[in-house]
Symmetry: D2
Subunit: 322 residues, 4 copies
């Protein structure tokens, strides 16, 4: 990977963060360096195998204030620059379809959720690189029109673990990271220090870029074209820390992608190489406030994907409990 | 309500449990007796107002073994006698729609979930009685084709509280309750005693009837026509105990309904009178085993409905954590 | 209605066409003047009652060249300024879901078609004015979450009749009518004269504004905000001519609406007052060329809506046969 | 193919029609014998290339009575033995979502239509045999999650041609053909003679088995397990006659399939070998009555599939015009 020039002439202004270009060869070396293929017998649970009963217990022990913070965005049926596949919501009964008493009100929900709007979990079947899914499974054999036979969200099930919020805007003293801002390994280390928290094995690490603060203040934009997110050079650190889950208020990848010819390199490293599911499009504004108020950035995180056999992920509404 | 004859000639065989008939007048008196309208300012959260930060903390403190038990059934796209509105699951990308590297696999999920198959939460907008929703809101004014303006699932948000499993088949020493078996107030009391647990304020009480054990052994049946579930006479006890949430592996109502002219009287009492959301169609088999193994029937329950503005409920995959 | 000043100082530049403002009282008078309520016993077929077997025969007799021209736009799954409710298209089988030989390829189609993209037919249940549907039916009683009990598209069935293309851009010698251009009664008369055709009883009159020529040349725009279409003052003429069907390459209404407080006055007059279904969003470019080539603007038109009980319309792909 | 024994001992009882077993080798020989690959430059229109402007004109000339008969079944949202993928129909606006005047009523329609309920057209991308689509195209290369790049329904467009109803129950003097009854080549010849009609080049041949008469009288059944339909031995005759389209009130294939290891051999021969699209699940009851009343079994047929780029077919509501 194109690391920074050794003799960089001095500190960059905080909050600028360039998405340093990475060649495909550098990416491939990185991919190999963080790969955990063959490590777990329950391969399609990937890094969730790290979350033992002990982790669950430690996560629950973090609950002190009893504050429950939902992280799921509103189901959005209107198209927009960051909502190219609007969700569906139709009333199927307004008390006038079935027998009258009591009157039942019912609705239909639908979503092609893997985009920039719905808060969702990516299962290990979501991304293949060079034809292979996580654990070296051949994607073409493992997934078809009937769904995923390997890496389905139903194989993941729910997750209860410690969540850590890396609140970059808070660390940098800005309202949000500008679209295109890459969050690199050194940013993670700086955030840990500033927030007095350390990401450890089995953790879920959530990156706040302030996307939804920015969206509220300046309106929606095409986050596929430009958004703050992880740079691939943060992934070796997260791999070393043995995280179970990575999430963000964006889709995790900084955009535009710094890797030549790869539109979602962070997805590729996390999901396909490391076996780490992703949480995309979380609304982390309330969690930011809650963590700031509580003076701590670690909490119990609960993620309960729908039990979809063959599903490549699921819309979710994760909760942080402080 | 037709209470039992005073001089009942002796104990009934356990496990028989008749669905004693209830007249409409008796039902209406019952409705009034458990009604909590006007009690809470955040009216569309109903009984979830009972779940304070202290409850959350006590729930988390129940986590000892670190066992996480999902309660959501598999998303079922095939019709059947208990699945008249099959869920939808289509692959929207098999790595061949968008740019090639990495290859992305995506899917569309859809469901008209308020039926007998999908595990789901009923919000307070789901049921109206005599034209009124919970808190006396006029249903016709509060809900339209655009969704619910009162009692939407987005107003509920997630719930973290103590869950109590009333494992009736375990109590009665049977594999399952036969379809039509009503679970009455006295059954609740007997279960509490047998399981050494007591339902208290803010609890989520989950009734296991063994539906999915029976389904696995004997195949699916039309649960709308016959299923084990709560009898209305259990509701005053649950109201007195001030529960926050009621759930079941069926749809909570014993069927056929014992109340003349009302197809879902338990829905009506819980949701419309008491402001208590319901969890329908949970798979409680694994939780039954986990509780039996742990020797306790209280645990942390986390329910994270999708954040659907205007939604009358949500598909969910709740977790019990022991 | 604000008719034109008697002493108009001279001809307006062709192609300018102002959308002369109409007060609500003028509109209501117009509504009453074209109303056909009570005229037909098969009320929910409205003006299609005019299309007798003789009309069908005369329409078929118009077929000379054997040219078949489809008028339906491509099913569009991408959002855009004129596609706020993108259609759905998912492959449900790629030869890998069911038994292998032969391999079957299948797909799911879905659409909330009443918008600006899908070519569709509006049935008589689509529009109510002051609470009433066509024929004075009370909308609230006639339509619910289960669909329309009056005026459903299934009651219309298919239509075979004479179609007349009013090709305004051809008449005016322009590529298209600019968004906002109102097509008034006098424009209809001028077009009839220029194209040597006369709209008569039972005809389907199709207005070409050149929308899709413009869209191809200049890109999509928000046609809800500005589009060429009928001015309400053309409707009395069409009512007098006793048309069965009105269609356009837009949604028929000129936008912005010239009638105070009414967003779709042409829909209201045609559907609700006159009982005339509408065809919206037709692609009339090929038909324009075919008519020009054949030197005539009347042809056999066949519209075959899907047979949806309770439906308020249907996506369609009508054909003109010359 | 297992042709009938030369010295068959005498006439079989009419209406019995056995589905004579066919080996895979016999089938493959049959496939080769009717194959039209390479014949047309507009390959994905297949046999519709046969329908010239002259055919359209001759079809229109058949209109005498002006009777329009729709052939599409009602959109069915309820599951059943012959409706395993119920269609969707939801109201998206009940006059209360958008601006109030006029009030607009709108709905969402959806269907995974390639099954036994929805009347639909199969395009040439619907069926592959031994990995190949019509014209020898490699299915895996031609169709993906984004739809069909060869043989899409949008390439077909609408069809106007002569339709011929082979009303087998009328010919045999029965109410319907029993499920499992195979319609063989000799049945076609007998029907032509009895009905005084001859299938010729470019025709659409529609087989009535009386399915919907039977369904109305005896209730729905699993037509995938047993239904009357074409035997493969009728296809050489239809190939020789150079038909453009084949349809039925079933799904065209007699079921159970008489060909070892092939669930839909008629689909395979018609679509994949001959390039002849199919119309499945037509309701031919009204057409039967209309033809009987008119004393002729040839008419103008108009089929207008939705214009779905990449679609493997389309729900349709074809019309016969007499």
């Amino acid at each position: 990977m194109s690391s920074e020039p050794a003799g960089a002439p001095g500190p960059r202004p905080s909050g600028t963060g360039e998405a340093v270009a990475v060649s495909r060869d550098e990416f491939d070396a990185l991919f190999d360096s963080v790969r955990t293929w063959g490590r777990w017998s329950a391969a399609d649970r990937g890094a969730w195998n790290r979350v033992t009963a002990a982790h669950v217990g430690r996560a629950a022990a973090l609950v002190r204030d009893g504050t429950v913070v939902p992280l799921g965005r509103p189901w959005d049926t209107r198209p927009g620059p960051d909502n190219t596949k609007p969700a569906l919501h139709y009333m199927s009964d307004l008390g006038d379809v079935e027998e009258p008493e009591p009157a039942a009100y019912k609705d239909f929900l639908g979503a092609d959720y893997h985009a920039k709007s719905v808060s969702h979990l990516d299962a290990l079947s979501h991304i293949a690189y060079r034809g292979q899914l996580y654990d070296g499974r051949v994607a073409r054999q493992a997934i078809g029109a009937g769904g995923a036979r390997f890496g389905a969200v139903a194989a993941l099930g729910p997750l209860v673990t410690r969540g850590v919020l890396l609140d970059l805007p808070a660390v940098l003293g800005v309202d949000w990271l500008e679209p295109g801002r890459a969050v690199r390994g050194r940013d993670v280390l700086a955030a840990e220090e500033a927030l007095d928290v350390r990401v450890v094995e089995g953790d879920a690490v959530l990156l706040r870029t302030g996307r939804f603060r920015r969206r509220r203040d300046t309106g929606p934009w095409d986050t596929g074209a430009a958004s703050a997110g992880w740079h691939v050079d943060a992934l070796p650190l997260l791999a070393e820390r043995a995280v179970a889950l990575i999430g963000s208020d964006g889709d995790n990848d900084v955009r535009p992608s710094p890797v030549e010819g790869l539109h979602s390199p962070v997805h590729t490293l996390a999901i396909t190489a490391m076996g780490v599911p992703l949480l995309d499009n979380l609304d982390l504004e309330a969690l930011s406030a809650a963590c700031a108020g509580a003076g701590r950035h670690a909490f119990m995180l609960v993620v309960t994907p729908l039990n979809v056999p063959g599903g490549t992920g699921s819309p979710v509404n994760p909760v942080g409990v402080l």
